[in-house]
């Protein structure tokens, strides 16, 4: 067997890991494409044809509002149809309830509940649309889509977490630029999106999902007053009650019909008021929309028909709708609402709009005005196309190409993409101009008009579809390349590991250890660990398995513990030699039982996931039983963590000054954390007070200096003791490698220092978590610590009977199960952002005050409740992950971040421990460690790839979360959103922990070659990188969870 040199090993490993990282970044890059969006807002230039070559600079729009308004009127050439707009948003109302489905009228109960609306539809006074919403079907992205007409890229969901104000061009901004006064009553999402834009507002929170009455009364109580006023141009009413009814009882809830009746009353009230005031106030348009639908159970978030089936109902158009059927059986896209409203109300279409105007709503206009509207929409879309296709230049297709012959709609446009758009556009434009010239000469015919309309619609439809699909399409070659690179690196690392394994086997065979009689039985745990990887990859194919992943991890880890129990019994010495090993055996048995019991308690702490969140669990029980109990549990856990910390520090064989110093640091930081808990965690106000922030910062400082100091200094000061071979108290001296005594003592010192470093790291992590996590999570943290320690002890007692990678993956399982036990889930909504406020959170308080505006004092958020989304209101805040591949991706994405975190949290320190436990096998560890990481990464990748493949054939058009990209919020007016929340994103780039792993290998090799002089010990050079990790762990503090409806 060829002996690999240390150098080549290192190089190959490094290469493998680097390839892995490159592949991963390529994959992520390809998978989450960032689409260019146009900045700025549409101005007067949008009423001029897009100039192909010259830059479109029409000067800045600094006109006063009323001038701008008349300028727009002049330029557009369409008399504004309406002066006032009432936007009635009924959250979560499926269009099916009002319009029926597939030609059938809605359910009888619903028909009867909404007599007025149905009569409007039947009399041709209203026209309704099934407006298809793009996922994620949750409120904020949908509102953004409605007002801007844009579909955001996937990553916007993640990047815009704490973005509140909408910076993109949108209808409300346009209205305000022409001096409209706006009033909003209802969901406070509007206030977050458009701070300072409303002259009057009353925001209600969507937070109290159980409240179906008050939440709507808070809106309706303003109705009479507002309708009698004439100082507004836009009135937005956003009713949340119906969504809440859905969340509580699903579509068939008993409360549904009464709620619909209430909404019908609102429509009736508004419409009668419009009718009575029609003449003196100008024309008012009432648009009833819903932001999304709901599933049979009342959830939403995905892209199923039920969820995406939102309503768009135009009431008060003066056009002529013939019958009930044609008023109800129309479909549109939700984004179409934006251009339609813009054109009806005489403002430029927002820049990033991908919607197409809804033709029937313009029926009351004259022919030339209708064509003009189509033309304006085409210009806007053409500009957007121009921005997205770099070489879209229609200059070379001159008008002459068309004008010599009689242009017709049937002109074939099957060229390349750019040419096709140009061709379609020019076709329509030419037809339009011909029609216009003919009209002047009074010779225009209906056919000409018709063909122009068709040509325009053809272009608009093609462009709109292409633009929305742009948001989802992914560069396949990039993805393939990324996957290949990752597979390659996996192969490299795998072959390396196999090679190493063979060598080590050989060495072991040469030396000793082959008295084992039942080798074949020992493999069950190894087979199982490998099987788990397979099971995980397979389970990722099922969306509910992704939603309920915590069950899998708990099941797997418990099964592994049971297998370890079985193995312990197997390895029990035969009865004749029972006396010798029985104590050891008993300890091992006990440790497995401790693992099982604490694992089960951890599992019972939080009912995560989506489907079973309502079941009772320990955290709910504790919270209901009152703050005192929570606090007691928290304090007990804190004290136990500190005590455990000392116990394990004292296990070290050498009790020298270093240990004392580290111990002292432990004590100080432990006490600080306890004091912080006692003093400041009473309520959110105290939590964010100045003193609390200072104390938290002090804890950070102490913990940071402890870990860094230990890592840097302990290898230098760790005494080299010339001890006998492995003292009896040495828990990690399970192997004795024949070597000379001096070598041994150096290794012992190395071992000890690594032990101290690893332990300081784990302990600091626990204290940090105690500080940052919710009080309810203190006990899970303690249990996690106990589990980690018990498993380490178990493995060190059982000696060489376990393979190292089995041990490391056991710790990994523990980490994953523990991650979910802390109340996390694969939904972005459960990311607990409260921790971000603890250290940098003075602004937090303001946030509190703002959310509880005086008007809904009864509903004001109390205590720190507002940030604990998962515990209070998990049903509502979970982005329901129903059968929805893209959100699953999101899950995987967030999971992936977590996974990296967990790797840092557990595997790394664990690896250090193992290294210190078994000094000679250290080299092996490093490879195994990177193997584990590679495995976990590749399982992630494979699931991603599988997802992608699954997703590819399905119409990619609408699957994009249509959150418009919102640049980082300028938000000068509302300081509610502390920027403090931004730091989280850096966690992603922080993955580079991976590359650190491969740097380890040289370390153990050093002692082998020559005995390095102590000060030049290579360890200090590599170790300092570790302590950086704790700073990344905290929670991913995305600020607010996705705005739930």
């Amino acid at each position: 067997m060829s002996q690999m040199t240390c150098k080549s090993l290192t190089i190959i490993t490094l290469a493998g890991v680097i390839i892995q990282m490159i592949g991963l970044s390529l994959f992520v890059w390809g998978f989450f494409p960032v689409k260019p969006a146009l900045t700025g807002v549409s101005g007067p230039e949008s009423y001029r044809a897009p100039a192909f070559d010259s830059d479109e600079n029409y000067g800045n729009i600094s006109l006063p509002p009323h001038q701008l308004r008349s300028l727009y009127q002049d330029l557009s050439g369409i008399p504004p149809s309406f002066d006032r707009l009432i936007l009635l948003v009924i959250d979560g109302l499926p269009a099916e309830f009002v319009l029926g489905k597939d030609g059938n009228p809605p359910r009888k109960a619903f028909m009867e509940a909404m007599p007025y609306t149905q009569s409007l539809l039947a009399n041709g006074m209203a026209i309704g649309y099934h407006a298809k919403a793009a996922p994620p079907t949750v409120t904020m992205p949908r509102l953004k889509a409605m007002v801007s007409g844009a579909i955001g890229g996937f990553l916007d969901v993640a990047f815009n977490f704490n973005t509140q104000a909408m910076a993109d061009d949108n209808l409300l901004g346009q209205f305000s630029s022409i001096g409209w006064k706006m009033v909003m009553h209802g969901d406070d999402t509007w206030l977050k999106l458009f701070p300072g834009l409303f002259t009057r507002h009353d925001g209600v929170s969507s937070f109290f999902v159980k409240d179906t009455i008050q939440v709507d009364q808070n809106v309706s109580r303003h109705l009479v007053d507002e309708l009698s006023r004439d100082d507004w141009n836009l009135l937005i009413l956003h009713y949340l009650g119906l969504d809440h009814v859905g969340h509580i009882g699903g579509r068939s809830s008993l409360l549904m019909a009464p709620k619909l009746a209430e909404m019908d009353e609102v429509v009736k009230m508004i419409h009668t008021s419009i009718l009575t005031r029609e003449n003196d106030q100008g024309w008012t348009l009432l648009v009833v929309v819903s932001d999304h639908g709901m599933t049979e159970n009342g959830n939403h978030g995905g892209s199923s028909f039920e969820e995406a089936d939102s309503l768009a109902l135009f009431v008060g158009l003066r056009g002529h709708v013939s019958d009930y059927k044609s008023a109800t059986q129309n479909t549109a896209q939700q984004v179409d609402i934006a251009p339609t409203l813009a054109l009806l109300l005489g403002v430029p279409i927002p820049k990033n709009n991908v919607g197409v105007l809804i033709a029937e709503t313009f029926d009351q206009l004259k022919d030339d005005h209708q064509l003009r509207a189509l033309e304006l929409n085409s210009w806007q879309l053409f500009r957007l196309l121009d921005a997205q296709i770099s070489c879209l230049s229609c200059a070379n297709i001159s008008l002459n190409d068309f004008s010599d012959g009689q242009p017709s709609v049937t002109t074939e446009c099957n060229d390349s993409l750019e040419k096709m758009f140009c061709c379609l556009y020019m076709n329509a434009a030419v037809l339009h101009s011909t029609w216009k010239s003919k009209k002047v000469s009074q010779s225009s015919s209906w056919e000409d008009y018709n063909s122009t309309v068709i040509a325009y619609h053809k272009f608009l439809k093609t462009a709109s579809e292409w633009l929305s699909s742009r948001a989802t399409d992914k560069p396949v070659d990039l993805l393939a390349f990324g996957v290949t690179a990752m597979l390659l690196s996996c192969l490299v690392l795998l072959s390396l590991t196999l090679h190493m394994g063979r060598e080590i086997n050989l060495i072991e065979k040469l030396h000793h250890y082959h008295s084992n009689n039942d080798m074949q039985m020992c493999f069950l745990d190894e087979i199982f660990v490998l099987g788990v990887i397979l099971i995980l990859v397979i389970s990722m194919a099922s969306s509910s398995m992704v939603e309920e992943e915590h069950y899998i991890w708990h099941f797997m880890s418990s099964t592994l513990f049971l297998i370890l129990l079985r193995k312990t019994v197997q390895l029990l010495p035969a009865q004749n030699s029972l006396s010798k090993g029985t104590k050891n055996f008993k300890f091992q048995m006990c440790s497995v039982f401790v693992l099982l019991i604490s694992g089960r308690i951890l599992r019972g702490c939080h009912q995560g996931g989506v489907n079973w969140t309502h079941l009772p669990d320990i955290s709910k029980w504790l919270e209901n039983s009152g703050g005192v109990h929570v606090k007691t549990v928290q304090l007990v856990s804190g004290v136990s963590v500190v005590i455990l910390g000392f116990c394990f520090l004292s296990l070290l064989s050498s009790k020298k000054n270093v240990i004392l110093v580290v111990g002292f640091n432990f004590l100080v930081s432990g006490l600080l954390v306890l004091v912080h808990i006692v003093k400041y965690q009473e309520n959110a106000f105290a939590r964010s007070s100045y003193g609390a922030t200072i104390s938290a910062q002090m804890i950070y400082a102490v913990l940071g200096s402890t870990t860094v100091g230990t890592a840097v200094l302990s290898p230098w000061f760790m005494p080299i003791q010339i001890s006998k071979v492995g003292s009896s108290r040495d828990i990690y001296s399970s192997i004795s490698v024949p070597s000379d005594v001096k070598d041994k003592s150096l290794l012992m010192a190395l071992k000890d220092s690594l032990y101290v470093i690893g332990w300081a790291y784990i302990f600091s992590w626990c204290l940090l978590q105690l500080l940052l996590q919710q009080p309810i999570n203190a006990m899970p943290i303690l249990l996690l610590l106990v589990q980690i320690l018990t498993s380490l002890l178990h493995f060190s007692y059982s000696g060489l009977h376990h393979k190292e990678w089995v041990e490391i993956s056991t710790l990994y399982f523990l980490g994953m199960a523990g991650h979910f036990a802390l109340g996390n889930s694969n939904s972005l909504a459960t990311i607990d952002v409260a921790g971000a406020f603890i250290v940098r959170g003075a602004l937090h308080q303001e946030c509190q005050f703002r959310t509880s505006s005086p008007d809904n004092a009864g509903l004001s958020l109390s205590g720190s409740a507002d940030l604990k989304f998962n515990s209070i209101d998990s049903i509502h805040n979970c982005i329901a992950v129903n059968e929805e591949s893209f959100i699953c991706l999101e899950c995987i994405f967030s999971e992936y971040i977590e996974l990296l975190q967990k790797n840092q949290e557990l595997v790394v320190p664990a690896a250090f421990h193992r290294i210190s436990f078994k000094n000679m096998a250290a080299l092996k560890h490093c490879f195994l460690l990177s193997m584990i990481v590679a495995f976990s990464l590749s399982s992630f990748q494979m699931s991603m790839a599988a997802r992608n493949l699954l997703q590819a054939p399905a119409g990619p058009l609408p699957t994009l979360p249509p959150m418009p990209k919102v640049a980082l919020p300028p938000m000068p007016s509302i300081p509610t959103l502390p920027q403090a929340t931004l730091p989280p994103l850096p966690t992603l780039p922080n993955q580079p922990t991976l590359p650190k792993l491969p740097t380890l290998p040289p370390m153990p090799a050093a002692p082998k070659v020559t005995l390095p002089p102590l000060p030049s010990n290579p360890i200090p050079t590599t170790i300092p990188s570790i302590p950086n990790i704790p700073s990344t762990i905290p929670t991913i503090p995305f600020l607010s969870p996705p705005p739930s409806t």
Partner: protein
């Protein structure tokens, strides 16, 4: 019963026919339990899991204990009655172990689940512990050989070891559909786990018969 008592002498070495007979009895007992529940009480595992499980284990209990006791180890030292008593004692103990195992793996805890868990674990005990207790008694070495090492030597070992493992593994796999959101009534604890356990039990009984049949010829040389 009469037939069984006449064949009790060869104790350790069991003929394939006897294996087949025992397995058939156990399988029939299981089926009868289900059948009685379905036809006489008009309940099923889905509509009333707790009562159905109770019916099954009550039906199977005497069959398993009485028949497996015929193959007890060291028949000369240990009377038939003693073996039966051992089996009866092992029933609650095994149920406790099974219940703890299930709870460790995530079975729900709570008053409303208690009867279900109890009846399920009694049934599991009949699949796993009771036969072993009737045959081996408290012989730690034998237990370890069967359950920890999974090294059956004699035919009777196969008869005990394989179905027990099959039931446990079947139950383990049976738990997989539980977190899925199909919203079927049988996804509740312990319905699909019971189905999995029964399926595993039945399959491995057939397997055990086949193995006993296969090693029928070379039984004696391999016994040492």
């Amino acid at each position: 019963m009469v037939k069984a008592s006449t064949t009790e002498n060869p104790s350790q070495s069991v003929s394939p026919m006897q294996t087949f007979f025992i397995h058939l009895i156990c399988g029939v007992g299981l089926a009868v339990g289900l059948w009685v529940a379905h036809n006489f009480y008009s309940i099923s595992l889905i509509s009333n899991p707790s009562r159905t499980l109770r019916l099954i284990w009550v039906t199977m209990c005497p069959l398993v204990i009485l028949f497996y006791s015929c193959f007890r180890k060291n028949p000369e030292k240990c009377s038939y009655l003693k073996a039966v008593i051992r089996g009866v004692l092992a029933l609650p103990i095994g149920a406790l172990v099974n219940a703890l195992g299930a709870i460790a793996l995530g079975a729900p805890v709570g008053i409303q689940y208690f009867p279900k868990t109890v009846n399920w674990s009694l049934l599991m005990s009949l699949f796993t512990f009771v036969p072993a207790a009737s045959v081996f008694g408290s012989s730690w070495e034998d237990w370890r050989r069967i359950f920890a090492h999974t090294k059956p030597n004699a035919s009777v070992d196969y008869m005990i070891c394989l179905p027990a493992h099959g039931a446990v593994i079947g139950a383990w796999f049976g738990a997989w559909p539980m977190p899925l959101d199909w919203e079927r009534p049988w996804q509740e604890w312990p319905i699909c786990v019971s189905y999995g356990a029964m399926a595993g039990y039945l399959i491995t009984m057939v397997l055990s018969f086949v193995l006993v049949l296969a090693r029928g010829g070379q039984q004696h040389p391999k016994a040492d």
